[in-house]
């Protein structure tokens, strides 16, 4: 007998816990409330929904488990939202590091994101905006981190990137150069003509 009764109890509890049922209960209470004051209830319900969404968003703000595709990031960099956020500046220009005393530690922090969450109050310029994805295709973003004078990647002491982001940046730059997406000034190659024209030099007159 015991197993059978237990089975029935389980089934009943499942039904009771199922969302449809809960919804039914919720609606029942709502109906009850409606009898008292229909308008007031509607307002509070709306507030409830808003509060829920806000709570979820608050959770999400530090969450970095969602992978943003590069294409989205590339579109973002051209969007009005980006323009509004950063204006004409590069993404790292407005960033300031927090540190004790007059001088910042020589190295930036190892990473801003631990266990899929932002673990710091002042995440680096790349980590703070989840739509900035470092990738070799995202040349608009990479170009902001390359010095217009020397053509080298800017140091993290200037840009404030965390070590992990900086490494990703170096990889992305190297890849972009390999793919030819990022142009740079190639070192000048000097040719020793005699190496190529060699023995025919005597027969054909050489360049003056």
């Amino acid at each position: 007998m015991l197993p059978i009764t237990r089975g029935i109890y389980n089934a009943l509890s499942l039904i009771a816990r199922s969302p449809q049922n809960r919804y039914a209960l919720h609606t029942a209470s709502a109906l009850q409330c409606k009898a008292v004051a229909a308008e007031a209830e509607a307002e509070t319900a709306a507030e409830d929904v808003e509060q829920d969404a806000a709570a979820e968003q608050k959770l999400d703000a530090n969450d970095r488990t969602k992978v943003i595709p590069v294409e989205t990031s590339m579109r973002y960099l051209k969007s009005a939202a980006y323009k509004q956020t950063y204006g004409d500046d590069f993404v790292w220009v407005q960033y300031r590091r927090n540190h004790k005393g007059m001088f910042a530690p020589r190295k930036t922090r190892k990473t801003c994101i631990r266990q899929g969450k932002i673990s710091t109050g002042n995440p680096c310029p790349i980590c703070r905006d989840e739509y900035l994805v470092l990738d070799h295709r995202n040349t608009d973003l990479i170009k902001q981190f390359i010095s217009p004078q020397s053509g080298q990647v800017l140091s993290y002491s200037k840009t404030g990137l965390c070590q992990k982001s900086h490494f990703k940046l170096l990889v992305a730059v190297e890849r972009a150069r390999d793919y030819g997406l990022l142009t740079y000034d190639v070192p000048f190659r000097e040719y020793d003509y005699s190496e190529y024209y060699g023995k025919t030099e005597e027969t054909a007159p050489k360049k003056p």
């Binding site: 010095s147 030819g180 190639v186 024209y197 025919t200 003056p208």
Partner: protein
């Protein structure tokens, strides 16, 4: 001579598939890509050809010495006397000439197997090949001896690819990588670079990555030039080291018309004449062009002289009379000798258009016509201004 032994394991199993792959990819694109069917080197290194190419390249110092984004680009500021400055200008021109050194145009070098000795006694001594490289200091790349001891005991000279890699290993060339950049190895990325008009970048990188006698060098440069011929962005390469080989390529393959049109449109008539002369010369067309060229040379300075004059003109103290003449010339952009040179070159170009060698006759004729009208207007203005300033209309 220190003949040092260095062991390099060559993973033949890894290399073979990549080589095959490349050969296949070449076969696929070969049909569209133009190639030099015989050795172009004697024609290219010919003194007259070189002079024509150098003149066509021009020397725009702003472009040659543009600010490069390289780690060591610092400026030095000095106080100098006028004499010192003039000497410095001459040095600058020399430096610019060096910067414009053209990459050699040579035929594709075929890889031949050259066996030194066969020693069956050494068979299966090791299950890898041994590569021996002579790393004596100061040898030229082509003189450096690289030999390979095969697994079956054969000692032979290394193939070109191994030789290049060994050279890069012991004497690295700045900017060259061991693996081929994906920009060159994968067609779609190269195509994207070309579609973005990054011609100079692609060609610069090509010169660094490849040797001029390699097949890939020929194919990629041909592809770039052909793409350039379609997009007509010739001005990007003007006054860079790649302009000469480009013009030579077009002249060799009978497709100078687009470049010619561009030159006429930009009022580089002397260059247009030189281009036509070059194509006549390469294909042994029985048209006398040397007289026209020498006439033009007498009238107009060489690119180096022109650049030097431009530099020196910033120093000159202007005299009253010359000052006005100079002013008129700069306002119009042409001097009397230029008008005379234009007349000669236009005659030559029109003769070319009328001949059977020109392919895009209508377009070229129109360009010439427009240029003539503009020139006439300028000439009238020139004479008018001269008269107004009370100078003799010579």
């Amino acid at each position: 001579m220190s003949f040092l032994r260095y062991l390099r394991k060559i993973n033949t199993q890894l290399q073979l598939p990549t080589r095959l792959e490349r050969q296949f990819s070449n076969a696929g694109t070969k049909s569209a890509i133009l190639q030099y069917e015989k050795d172009p080197q004697p024609q290219f290194t010919d003194t007259e050809t070189q002079r024509l190419l150098q003149s066509m390249t021009q020397m725009q110092l702003d472009k040659v010495f543009r600010k490069r984004t390289v780690p060591d680009n610092d400026n030095e500021i000095k106080f100098m006397t006028t004499e010192q400055l003039e000497n410095e200008f001459v040095k600058m021109i020399e430096k610019a000439k060096h910067q414009l050194q053209m990459p050699p145009v040579v035929k594709v070098k075929q890889d031949t197997e050259r066996i030194i000795s066969k020693d069956p006694a050494l068979k299966d001594f090791q299950n890898t090949k041994f590569v021996f490289t002579d790393i004596t200091y100061g040898l030229r790349q082509s003189d450096r001896k690289v030999v390979v001891r095969d697994v079956d005991g054969t000692l032979s000279y290394a193939p070109l690819e191994t030789q290049k890699r060994m050279n890069q290993l012991y004497f690295p060339l700045k900017g060259r990588t061991f693996h081929t950049p994906r920009m060159f190895s994968e067609q779609e990325y190269l195509q994207r670079c070309l579609d973005d008009h990054k011609y100079e970048f692609v060609l610069d990188r090509l010169t660094v990555q490849y040797e001029p006698y390699e097949l890939d060098f020929h194919q990629i440069s041909a592809q770039v030039f052909q793409h350039l011929n379609e997009s007509k962005e010739f001005d990007q390469l003007r006054s860079t080291r790649h302009f000469g080989p480009m013009a030579f390529f077009y002249a060799w393959h009978h497709c100078i018309d687009d470049l010619l049109y561009d030159m006429i449109r930009r009022d580089y008539l002397q260059n247009a004449v030189e281009l036509i002369a070059l194509s006549y010369k390469l294909h042994n067309v029985p048209v006398e062009f040397r007289k026209t060229i020498s006439e033009l040379d007498a009238l107009q300075p060489t690119p180096e002289k022109r650049a030097l004059n431009q530099l020196l003109s910033s120093l000159k103290s202007k005299e009253e009379h010359e000052g006005i003449q100079q002013e008129i010339q700069t306002a119009i952009g042409k001097a009397e000798s230029d008008f005379a040179a234009d007349e000669i070159s236009l005659k030559f170009i029109e003769a070319y258009i009328a001949s059977e060698h020109a392919l895009k006759k209508v377009q070229l004729e129109l360009a010439v016509q427009t240029l003539k009208e503009i020139n006439l207007e300028k000439l009238q203005l020139y004479h008018g201004l001269k008269k107004a300033h009370g100078m003799h209309a010579s």
